[in-house]
């Protein structure tokens, strides 16, 4: 019986890993866009890199201390951000492919903002597994800019809230508008 359970655990390992990796999005390969873009931010930090970075955070610096608070429990941070000098120089289809991944079970849309006037959109999604947040995704598009952020791990919005003022970010009104107050779409 013991051996059977051990065998079962081994056989189920890939499935467990797949479930655990649910919050990881497949981000589009946008290498061709780098030449066209005015500004490019491509950040890929897996668990090892986050651990490495954490070792170089200075506890005496406010922004480093805040970052340390936020990253505890995170296993991946992926950012793709491109800025162009002309409107909609980027492939919208690639952004839609990422949006489609966020329609999978487990992802909940916290915020959806659309502005026809500014032709911009911001979506914030949270991946929830057994009532615990294990991932965050942000897709923000403007005519000349788009940003995709994928954070994997135990995302704590309160800790994110602690970032206010540390990186020049104004205070977030998380208390005033909780995710339950603003369920958009879905």
């Amino acid at each position: 019986m013991k051996y059977f359970l051990a065998l079962l655990a081994v056989l189920l390992l890939p499935w467990q890993l797949a479930v655990a990796a649910d919050a990881r999005l497949i981000l589009p390969e946008l290498r061709g866009l780098e030449d066209k873009a005015d500004e490019t931010v491509t950040i890929t930090l897996d668990a090892a890199m986050i651990k490495l970075a954490a070792g170089f955070l200075d506890a005496n610096k406010p922004e480093d201390a805040a970052a340390r608070q936020v990253i505890s429990g995170l296993t991946g941070i992926y950012v793709r951000s491109f800025t162009f000098d002309a409107d909609f120089s980027y492939p919208l289809g690639e952004i839609e492919k990422v949006r489609k991944q966020l329609s999978a079970p487990g992802w909940q849309r916290l915020v959806e903002v659309r502005s026809r006037k500014e032709k911009s959109a911001v979506d914030v999604y949270l991946s929830v597994d057994r009532e615990l947040a294990n991932g965050l995704a942000i897709i923000a598009t403007e005519p000349r800019e788009f940003t995709i952020v994928n954070i994997i791990g135990a995302v704590d919005l309160q800790k994110l809230h602690q970032l206010e003022g540390k990186f020049g970010i104004p205070k977030l009104q998380l208390e005033a508008k909780t995710p339950q107050d603003k369920p958009a779409g879905r």
Binding site: V79, E112, L136, V149, I169
Partner: protein, 126 residues
């Protein structure tokens, strides 16, 4: 008087043949002196060490120096990678925070905050 001095000088400086074996003794002494001039590390080596292995300490020292240089280079590379990772982490959190702030500001300033007031869901306005 002067003749006596001349005689004495002649007697003192007269040609004398070297003793038998003089040349061999000179050569032997030269060899001994050359041996004594060898570097200290070589003279302190154990006698059983073969002559070819006399460069062993130099090789060991060079290897130790090489290892030290490599370890230092590794440490420098690790530090550079760590600082780059830290900067990337700060940048990533900054971008995430900016976009979160954008969303929350939009939600808090619009009333009522219905998502699809302007456009249909998923419409980027493009």
């Amino acid at each position: 008087m002067s003749n006596d001095i001349d005689e004495q000088l002649r007697a003192a400086l007269r040609r004398v043949d070297p003793e038998q074996g003089f040349a061999q003794r000179v050569l032997a002494r030269i060899e001994v002196e050359q041996r004594q001039r060898r570097p200290r590390f070589a003279t302190r080596l154990p006698a059983w060490l073969p002559t070819r292995a006399r460069w062993l300490p130099v090789a060991v020292a060079a290897s130790a120096l090489l290892v030290a240089v490599l370890l230092n280079a590794r440490q420098v590379r690790h530090e550079r990678q760590g600082l780059e990772a830290r900067q990337q982490l700060i940048d990533a959190l900054r971008v995430a925070g900016e976009k979160l702030d954008l969303a929350y500001r939009a939600v808090n300033t619009e009333s009522p905050p219905t998502a699809s007031d302007d456009t249909a869901p998923g419409d980027t306005g493009a």
